[in-house]
């Protein structure tokens, strides 16, 4: 067993600092005493012993902000740490661009759409628009990716045709509406159409939406599914991983 504790200024001292807000007033002397006591109680329950409130400040009539230092009683067992695995590393925009440039020697072409009757473009726009999502720029921002965003309510044959006309490397479809499992049947229909038109040479197929199960890609006939909370950078990194593999050094 390989055990460590937090390090303040001495090995094994277990010292940490944290800050938080409690919905308690910090006005009268009694209120202040109660507020600090409440903060210390929370710190104790979080495993800080001893703990010290080094800063408390009222914010408006009914909230108090605290900064607390203390010695944490927990230990960390490094041998028990598990790391979630993803089949690809998340890259920066510059790294994605460089990978595409060196592996393809041209722009990577992505065609995106929301298919079926689904009129929601929130998902596809969050991934494709420069504006992006969660502080990350969308795929349009990547110099080496050319994005064709077809918008919403696109018919599968039109999507297939556009992918062919643009020589798409990847097709991204977003599905938000899940009534009668429309997102699943639409995705299956789309995958079948690409299979029958392109055969083995079909573009990479990626589906995304808040209600998809990311493990169902094979069952739906697509290469990858992204679920809720996916950011543009993850999608770009996946495209680089799947279409622009790193050359062996």
């Amino acid at each position: 067993m390989n055990v460590v504790r937090p390090y303040g200024d001495t090995t094994g001292d277990g010292r940490v600092q944290l800050s938080f807000t409690l919905p308690v007033p910090f006005g009268t002397e009694t209120e202040r005493a109660v507020a600090e006591g409440a903060a210390l109680q929370l710190a104790a329950k979080m495993g800080l012993d001893p703990a010290m409130v080094v800063h408390a400040k009222g914010m408006g009539p009914s909230f108090t902000f605290f900064i607390v230092y203390g010695r944490v009683s927990h230990v960390v067992d490094l041998s028990a740490v598990t790391v979630a695995s993803r089949e690809f590393p998340v890259l920066s925009a510059a790294e994605v661009n460089m990978r595409i440039r060196s592996a393809l020697g041209r722009e990577l072409v992505v065609v995106g759409a929301t298919i079926g009757t689904d009129a929601h473009t929130v998902g596809i726009d969050a991934i494709l628009n420069v504006k992006g999502h969660a502080g990350e720029k969308g795929l349009e921002y990547y110099r080496e990716i050319r994005v064709v965003n077809m918008g919403s309510q696109i018919l599968v044959p039109d999507l297939v045709e556009r992918a062919r006309a643009e020589d798409a490397d990847a097709v991204l479809v977003s599905q938000v509406v899940t009534q009668r499992d429309a997102h699943l049947s639409n995705t299956r229909e789309m995958a079948a159409a690409f299979r029958s038109t392109f055969g083995q040479a079909r573009p990479l197929l990626v589906a995304g939406g808040p209600r998809f199960d990311p493990s169902a890609a094979g069952e739906l006939g697509v290469d990858r599914i992204f679920g809720r909370g996916t950011t543009p950078r993850e999608v770009a990194s996946y495209l680089a991983h799947a279409l622009a593999p790193e050359k062996p050094v």
Partner: protein, 518 residues
């Protein structure tokens, strides 16, 4: 103009003239075309509100019905008010309901019928403009009676998705020191080709802009303004496909500032450039009338492009925004031109470069209420370093006399701000103002030192870029990715199908009155 930077007045005149020449063909486009949203805004000014059972506003239903029959080349007003008279409808809502059911025969009237339709339309739309005038007068009275806070105004954002949650948060933010409350819109509203109706309680990362939400929030801020003894301004977004309509609603409900950029929707939302420029001109005419301060979005370019390399694109866009704004009737005090503190802190002399850029913009636009945006791109998860960077942003803001400071959050990019993040951010700006608020008057960069030279360099690069835009055309320059690195060709993007070339007999009572008033 007192200058600390030794700007060449001839070059300053030249960049303004170049911006005018680059922008004029686009103004011509706006004068010769209309859009579905401009026409819907006319109906909104005439008092048509509400929506059908599917939530589609009556202004959309009526405009679509007219478009399908007579087309919109002559505008919506002549066919609509002609049908009102011939069908003896009691009000626009009834007309819209009947038209949606296909029960109304529209035509473009001629002769005395046209004159009668014009009189009736002008009367209805005039009532809307009169309400906007009353709201502007009410704002002036409140500013006088309650008090106008000193600049820089502190700008804070709320965005819960639920207007009834936003209200207490906005009031709390005002009590904590905010002079301006901005309600962020729901993600994707800019791409809706209609304005949702009523009070809304659900949104994605923001709250829908609706007339009722505007009214509720303004009333709540009026209450807290009286309590605090300073008028707290309200901001929303006149952008996206419904820019003209939202501008009209903002005027009717006394919003005080509106995000309204000439190119933001094109570049960041892939809205068609021509649609955007037409909608923008009308929305700015309304803002001019309503006494609303616009906020432009140049800060956004620096989130995609490098803040040093692209500094001159900010200045060029500001000059274009200034020209488009003044042409539409806005005055200098209404031009909240935007820029941002986004230089990589690892770059040597980054603070000096920020000072140079901020001071250049201050001197180029001495009477504009400049809006200065805090760092976002180089805010990492290290909240302690972020807090320091925000302090430098605040310092640069007070040293260069910026007018509107959006308050930076140490947790930018991590999560929506905690209550404590906002409190710490305000503590930061209060300290800087207290400690160094008057530093600007004593700060004079060496006439040929690093800061002044850098400012003059950016101005020179701006002139060069404007020359190129003038030669190629603004639409072509946007198509080539000059701003914010994205290419947006004039035939692409959303909303082009809502653009209509005006026929000879085109008539728009709102534009008539807005232009006649000048």
């Amino acid at each position: 103009m007192t200058t600390k930077l030794n700007l060449d007045p001839a070059l300053v005149r030249q960049v303004r003239e170049l911006a005018r020449q680059a922008a004029e063909p686009v103004v011509h486009l706006a004068r010769t075309h209309t859009t579905v949203s401009v026409e819907r805004a006319v109906l909104r000014l005439a008092g048509l509100g509400g929506a059908d059972e599917d939530g589609m506003p009556w202004v959309n239903r009526l405009t679509d019905a007219i478009r399908e029959t007579t087309g919109l080349e002559h505008g919506v007003a002549l066919p609509a008010w002609d049908a009102m008279a011939t069908g003896n409808y009691p009000d626009l809502r009834t007309l819209a309901q009947q038209a949606a059911g296909g029960q109304v025969k529209f035509r473009v009237p001629g002769g005395e019928d046209a004159a009668a339709a014009r009189r009736a339309a002008a009367r209805s739309v005039g009532k809307g403009l009169a309400r906007i005038d009353q709201q502007r007068a009410a704002r002036s009275a409140l500013l006088r009676d309650i008090g106008d806070p000193p600049k820089p105004w502190i700008y804070l954002i709320v965005a819960t998705g639920d207007i009834y949650e936003d209200i207490p948060q906005a009031q709390a933010a005002a009590r904590e020191g905010a002079d301006i409350i901005a309600v962020i819109r729901s993600t994707g509203q800019s791409l809706l080709d209609y304005v949702p109706e009523g009070a809304t309680r659900e949104g994605y990362a923001g709250t829908y802009a609706t007339q009722e939400n505007f009214r509720l929030m303004r009333a709540a801020l009026d209450d807290v303004s009286r309590e605090l003894g300073r008028y707290v301004r309200l901001t929303n977004y006149a952008s996206g496909l419904c820019m003209p309509e939202i501008a009209a609603l903002a005027g009717l409900e006394r919003l005080d500032m509106m995000l309204n950029d000439c190119m933001y929707g094109i570049i960041f939302r892939d809205i068609n450039p021509i649609r955007t420029f037409i909608d923008q001109r009308f929305s700015r005419q309304v803002h001019a009338r309503a006494g609303i301060i616009i906020n432009t979005g140049e800060d956004n370019y620096l989130t995609t492009a490098d803040a040093v390399d692209a500094a001159h694109t900010v200045v060029v866009s500001q000059l274009l925004n200034e020209y488009f704004g003044l042409e539409a009737g806005l005055e200098d005090w209404q031009l909240g031109l935007g820029h941002a503190f986004e230089i990589n802190p690892e770059v040597p002399d980054s603070f000096l470069l920020e000072l140079a850029h901020a001071l250049l913009i201050r001197e180029l636009f001495p009477d504009a209420p400049l809006k200065y945006m805090p760092p976002t791109k180089h805010m990492t998860g290290n909240v302690f370093a972020g807090y320091l960077l925000d302090a430098f942003f605040n310092l640069c803001g007070v040293m260069t006399d910026q007018s509107i400071l959006l308050i930076g959050m140490m947790t930018e990019g991590i999560h929506t701000p905690f209550l404590s993040d906002r409190d710490l951010a305000l503590e930061n700006v209060r300290y800087v103002r207290r400690a160094a608020g008057r530093l600007g008057e004593s700060f004079r960069p060496e006439p040929d030192g690093f800061v002044a030279r850098r400012a003059r360099q950016v101005l020179g690069e701006s002139a060069g870029l404007l020359e190129r835009i003038k030669a190629d055309g603004l639409l072509a320059a946007i198509g080539e990715g000059t701003f914010g690195v994205t290419r947006r060709p004039p035939g692409g993007g959303r909303g082009l199908d809502g653009v209509i070339e005006r026929a000879d007999g085109y008539w728009n009572p709102a534009i008539d009155m807005l232009e006649g008033a000048r």
